[in-house]
Amino acid sequence: MADFSILELEYWNERIEGLARNCGLDYYNQEFEIINYEDMIGYESYIGMPSHYPHWSYGKSYERIKTLHKYNLTGLPYEMVINSDPCIAYLMKDNSLLVQVLTIAHVYAHNDFFKNNRLFKLGTKAEYAIEMFKNHANRIREYISDPSIGYARVEKILNAAHAVKLQTERVAEFQSGSEKKEEPKFAIKENKKEFPNLERYSGSPAGSIDKELQEDLFLSEPQEDILKFIAENGCLQDWEKDILSIVREEAQYFIPQIETKIMNEGWASFWHYNILNKLELPQNMHLEFLRRHNEVIRPLKSSINPYYIGFKMFEDLYNKFGSEKIFEVRNTERDQSFIRRYLTQELCTEMNLFEYVTAGNDYMVSEVSDEEGWKVIRETLCNTVGIGSIPTIVVSDWNKKDNTLMLKHEFDGRELELGYAYETLKHIVDLWNGKTLLTTQLEGKQKSINCDEAKRISLYG
């Protein structure tokens, strides 16, 4: 069956751990679970959680993952790590010993990243993670089995809540939460601070957002967290509010992972590569290691492999500034700022990054990594990673006269996909129980999308 024994794993683990510690990795206690292929797909579809509330989207995810594996569309060695304390990682039984060794090294670096990166430290509570998901699952199951609620109504709320779960506060500081009344944070403002060159994307001058809001409106400032606003101000029942808070908490748990995908994978790849090089592997294992490593960081044609870019960038930083620098970077950055600060022209050229735009059904190369182009490319990449890939939609106001929920798309040059916006608005109407109005920009013009109580959509402007 497996081509390794637990004893062998423990032998290699001891050596890997020794190296990891010497290199300065600082991680939670680690637990590995060795599972089979089917179980791995099962965990993967429930985003790794040993227990998670039921929803058809996880069934869909299961089918999708299974199909991808069936057609070998993901040839990557299996690894799944949970941001929890103790950190749980899954190893797949059928993988070769080398893949297990590589994965173990990879996992320690992820574990270190979870424990030390600012976003995770502020935004998640690793020691309660598993407990939280279990608790969520219990609550949802309770509502499902409650005869006065039932499956269909729970599903409807979950469908709707999932649709806007990422429309939440963009700064991961929910722990400090309400006590610390801070300056309201919009993505654009926030990003402006960090990236003064963002103008390329912001169609409207920075001041206009604030001005529009000074009218005699209910809200003095827009709210980024749509679920929270609806839960607090809508006319939902308690169980419905509770479901919203469950979905919110889960989204908040995952946002640091979304925000640091490139860094996290790059960090883990950087360390598995360095640790395995020091492990003095027997020759046959060493050859397999090189082959596997190249698979992991293989540049994908015409798209972004976070392992590849992250690995290249950390390697570059290490070579230039040494070990201390990369640890500092892993503490403080997220993908957007990481790329903004540390993606250099040489790296862009070396990786052959280019920018493309759609041209009909095809794509057209709009910038290449040369002297003039590379900064544009860096800027575009900054805006397509992490939460930057998700449009910022805020609750701009609540018209109490006809109970209209007013939403505003913080336009940054990128238009919304209308079909999706329509359907998402319908979900919001389900939650708000009233009209919903979204303002955005299309083809340079201000537009409003209205979705009434009967879920009829009208676009005007």
Binding site: N29, N36, W56, G59, I304, Y356
Partner: protein, 401 residues
Amino acid sequence: MTIFRECSNDGRDRSAEDRRRHRELIEDSIKKNLGNIIAEESIIGKSKDKKIKIPIKGIKEYQFIYGKSKPGIGVGNGEEKRGDKFSGEEQSNSGKDKAGNQEGEEIYETEITIEEVVRYLFDDLELPDIDKKQLSQLEEKSYRKLGYQNRGIPPKLAKKRSVVEKIKRKQSFKRAIAEKSQAQPEDISSDNENRRFPFVEEDLRYYRIKEENKRDYNAVVLCIMDVSGSMDQTKKYLARSFYFLLYQFLQLKYSNVDVVFIAHTTTAKEVNEKEFFHRGESGGTYISSGYEKALEIISQRYSPANWNVYAFHCSDGDNWSEDNKKAIESAKRLCEVCNLFGYGEIVPGYYSIGSTIKTELLGKIDNRNFAAININKKEDVLPALKKLLDKVSDKDVEQEG
């Protein structure tokens, strides 16, 4: 302290319920799209077990996402130049985004058998059992094998089973010998193996036969279509969908369904499926010619005594007026030999009060097995069929316009 644990969920499949629900949602989505699916398939020569591939739009999880106009970043080979174009297919997703912000069209290709498609269709319709009376008239006896028994007559001897029984007996005999020879080793005789081992009476097995009343098996569908100049592709497409459904429905009810295609302008001829749907002709229309041809084929090949005959005529109602009288007469005669004779008027795009020929057919034919329907658009096909089959013994249908 690092811990390694071997875990097994031992077949405990916690995603089963969520997968079931997801599939249920997909099935719903299939049902909604069947109108498109059925029109793609060739109507004859497909067994009901044949798998067809149909694209299903994934059940989408909607979120606010950016449209296609946004710029993206790719990794190339260094030879890219500004202004180079590349096809959308190359722009594959990395498949690694677990964040759940996948975008774009997700299309699953699901394999589904024609039988399943039809089941989906008719499940919801609760179509009636058609013409039970006719079916029972054609009852005949049938015999079905149903297990084995120890006694029987030679023609029912189950040879294979009998050999199996003999082998079983031989094996147990050998085992008994072996056990004995362990106890008394001197008894081993090597020719035990080769000794002849004949059948004995108790090896023999016979089929148990069950007698059943077998219902009628044969049905023929006569598809009569006006292929004159006024029948354009859209109308033919609607006709095709209609015939497909009809054919499938009858196939559920009969084990053997013949399909005859008759195309007519001012004259009629029997054609194959391809010609029937794709070859346009020009010229005028004598509907009667199609009906006459149908009558001729019925009398030659499908005697109403042995066959359930279903005739359907699809037309846009554009008949030359001098033919109307003759058409009505032929239609009456068709009603006499058919289980069901239907007239479908295909008028895409707008609501129509019905053509002269339809009005005349409705007015002058009072046979109970005649029905007339209207098909204006794709979505009408299924309800039209239902109406046709549902109310076939009910005069109400003729009031429908």
